[in-house]
Amino acid sequence: MKTTLVYSLAFTLAATLAATGCKHTTGKVTALPAAPTPPPAVDQVPTTRNSGPERATTYTPPNGPDTTGIALPPSEDMYGMNPDPAALAAFTVHFAYDSAAIRKSEQVNLQEVAKALSADPKTKVLVEGNCDERGTEEYNRSLGERRALAAREALAKLGVDSTRVFVRSYGKDKPADPGHDEAAWQKNRRDDFVLLHPKPGA
C-alpha cells in the first residue's frame, strides 16, 4: 500500500511538473520528483470465468443464425480434459499463404479427425490455428483463429457435433518449423488437432 502511494504520488508530481515546467525565467530551478518505482508483482490471478466481473451480454445477432458462425462452447469445458497431441498429429491441415480456405487436398485429414471423434464419443478436439511469420502479430492471431474456425465448420459438415470442437489461435507464436523460408512457412500455415480425453473418473 505504501508503495502504491509513493508511486501515484510520483506521477502526480510528474504531472504537476509538466504543467508548470514551461514558465521559464533565467535562473529558474525545477525540482524533479522521484522516478517511478517498479510496479508491484501480481497477485491473484482469476482462474475461472466466475472470478471476473459480472458480464451481462446484451448482444443479439441482428440477422438471424444463418449469417453467423457456429457458437463456441466455453473454453472451461476443455480445461478439465487430458490433451493428447500425438493421436491426431498425422492429420494436420495446411493452408495457402494468407488464406483460411480448406483446400480439397486437406479434406482427407479432416475426415480422419472426424473418424477418430466418432470412434469415441467421449472425446473432444482442440483445433489450434497457426500462421507463418509473414503477417503482423495481431493480424496473424485473427487469421490463425479464422483457420481453426474453418476446420471446425468443415468438421460440422462431416457430422461432428460442434460442442465437441474447441479452437485456439496461436498466431505466429508457435511455428512448427523455426526457419525463415517458404519450406518452413508452408509447414507453419496449419491447423493442429489435439484430441481431448475425459479425465479418468470424470
Binding site: 522521484a34 508491484p40 470465468r49 466481473p53 508457435k174
Partner: protein, 402 residues
C-alpha cells in the same frame, strides 16, 4: 548570422517544394518562434538545427536521443539555429539561445531524482520552448517481450526510450497487445494464462488484475476508448472472428462486424466516436471504421500502401498510422480524413503514437527478432531503443503523460 541564413533558406525552400503554405517561411525580421511553426509533412519536414555544448555521458545521450526523435538535428554552433549549452555535475543546468533573436529563451536548473530524468526534463523544456509542443521525455511505454523464443512472453513497462524496463507479468505464457487505460497506471492486455487468449485489466498501482473478456474461445487486441469507459476487442463469441465493443469491465458486449473474414487490431478516434480496424473484403485487406455505437462499416482507402493492418489514430485526431505489408512491413501515416494518400516512412510494424502526436514507437525485425524504435514522423528521424529482453514488440505509448 550570415552563416546560418542559408539554413533558413533551405527550410523555406523545402517547405515550398512540398506544397505547404509559403507563409511558414520567416521574414527577415520574424521572431524565432514563428520560424518553427513548421509545415509538418510526414517524412519531408526538415529538422531544426541545434548545437549542444557542455554535456557528456548519459546526460548528453539523453538530450541527443530525445531531441533527435522530436525533429532536431545536431550541427556545429555556427550552423545552428539554437545553441543549447549547460553542464551536469550534481544536477543538470542548461540554457537555450536563439541565434536569430540573439537572446536566451530558456535557462533552468534541475534538481532531484537522477541526472537521467533531469536531462529528460531539460529536453522537454527545450521542445516546448522552441516548438510549443509538450515533449515526450518523461513518458512511458508498455510492450511485449519474448525472452526465450518459445512463444511465451511478458508484458513490460519502461520509459519511452526503453530505460528502466520492468516486467509487469510473470506468467511465462503467450501475451500480447498491451493497451493503456487512460488517466491511470493500468493496462489491458491479452494473455493465454488460462489456455485460450483472454483479455485482462491490470491495475499496476495495486498489483491486481481481473479477467474482463472471456467470451467464446478468443478475446484479443484490446483497445480502450479515450474516456476509458469502453473496450474494443476481437472475439469469436458468435463463431466468427469479429470486432466487438464492451464496457471497460468486459460487460455489455456488442458485436460491431458480422463477417466470416478476420477483423483485427481495433483503435479509437480521439473523440471516441469511431473504431478503426483491419478487415478483409473479397479477400483484399483493408482498413475500415465503424461508429462505436454500431452501424455501417466504412472502408478507408490506403492507396500505395497495400495490406494495411495495426492502425493507430493520433491523439490530435489528424493522422492514422498503420503497418503496410509488401515483401516487408512498413510504417505508414495518412491524414485521418483521407484527404491525402498514405506516406510510407520506414520499415517496421505496430506503430503507436506519442501523446503529442509527433513521434511513433514501433517494432522492426533485426535478425528475425523484433526490436523497438522511435520515429519522428515529420523528419523521419529514427532511433532504436535498446533491446530489452529477446524479441520486443507491440509497443503502446502511454497517452496521458507529458
Amino acid at each position: 548570422m550570415k552563416k546560418n541564413f542559408p539554413n533558413f533558406l533551405k527550410i523555406c525552400f523545402s517547405i515550398f517544394l512540398t506544397g505547404a503554405a509559403v507563409n511558414f517561411c520567416p521574414g527577415q525580421d520574424s521572431g524565432a518562434i514563428q520560424i518553427n511553426k513548421r509545415a509538418d509533412i510526414p517524412g519531408l519536414t526538415k529538422p531544426i538545427p541545434v548545437s549542444l555544448d557542455g554535456f557528456s555521458g548519459e546526460v548528453a545521450d539523453v538530450l541527443k536521443f530525445d531531441l533527435y526523435v522530436q525533429g532536431f538535428s545536431f550541427v556545429a554552433p555556427d550552423a545552428a539555429q539554437y545553441l543549447i549549452s549547460g553542464s551536469a555535475g550534481d544536477s543538470v543546468t542548461g540554457s537555450v539561445t536563439d541565434k536569430l533573436a540573439k537572446k536566451v529563451i530558456l535557462s533552468n536548473r534541475y534538481t532531484g531524482t537522477n541526472l537521467r530524468r533531469q536531462a529528460h526534463a531539460f529536453a522537454n523544456d527545450i521542445v516546448f520552448t522552441i516548438t510549443g509542443k509538450k515533449g515526450i521525455g518523461l513518458t512511458q511505454i508498455a510492450f511485449k517481450a519474448q525472452p526465450t523464443g518459445n512463444g511465451a512472453g511478458e508484458i513490460y513497462v519502461s520509459d519511452f526510450d526503453g530505460h528502466d524496463a520492468q516486467p509487469v507479468t510473470h506468467d511465462d505464457v503467450i501475451v500480447s497487445h498491451p493497451s493503456w487505460a487512460p488517466g491511470r497506471l493500468a493496462l489491458f492486455y491479452n494473455s493465454y494464462k488460462l489456455g485460450n487468449p483472454d483479455i485482462y485489466f491490470h491495475d499496476l498501482s495495486a498489483g491486481q488484475r481481473s479477467l474482463v473478456a472471456h467470451y467464446g474461445n478468443l478475446n484479443i487486441s484490446p483497445a480502450v476508448s479515450p474516456d476509458g469507459t469502453k473496450l474494443a476487442l476481437i472475439s469469436d463469441k458468435d463463431g466468427w472472428v469479429d470486432l466487438y465493443v464492451a464496457d471497460a469491465d468486459g460487460g455489455n458486449l456488442k458485436r460491431l462486424t458480422k463477417s466470416p473474414e478476420d477483423e483485427s487490431s481495433p483503435c479509437w478516434s480521439p473523440d471516441g466516436k469511431w473504431i478503426c480496424f483491419a478487415t478483409k473484403i473479397d479477400g483484399r485487406r483493408l482498413l475500415a471504421k465503424v461508429s462505436a455505437d454500431g452501424g455501417e462499416v466504412q472502408t478507408i482507402p490506403t492507396r500505395g500502401a497495400p495490406n494495411p493492418t495495426e492502425p493507430d489514430w493520433s491523439p490530435d485526431g489528424k493522422w492514422i498510422a498503420f503497418t503496410s505489408q509488401t515483401s516487408e512491413f512498413d510504417i505508414c501515416v495518412m491524414p485521418a480524413d483521407g484527404s491525402k494518400d498514405p506516406v510510407v516512412l520506414v520499415p517496421g510494424e505496430a506503430p503507436s503514437w506519442s501523446p503529442n502526436s509527433r513521434t511513433l514507437i514501433f517494432s522492426h525485425s533485426v535478425r528475425y527478432q523484433q526490436t523497438l524504435s522511435v520515429l519522428d514522423v515529420f523528419t523521419k528521424q529514427v532511433k532504436d531503443v535498446g533491446r530489452i529482453a529477446g524479441s520486443d514488440s507491440e509497443p503502446a505509448w502511454r497517452k496521458d503523460m507529458n
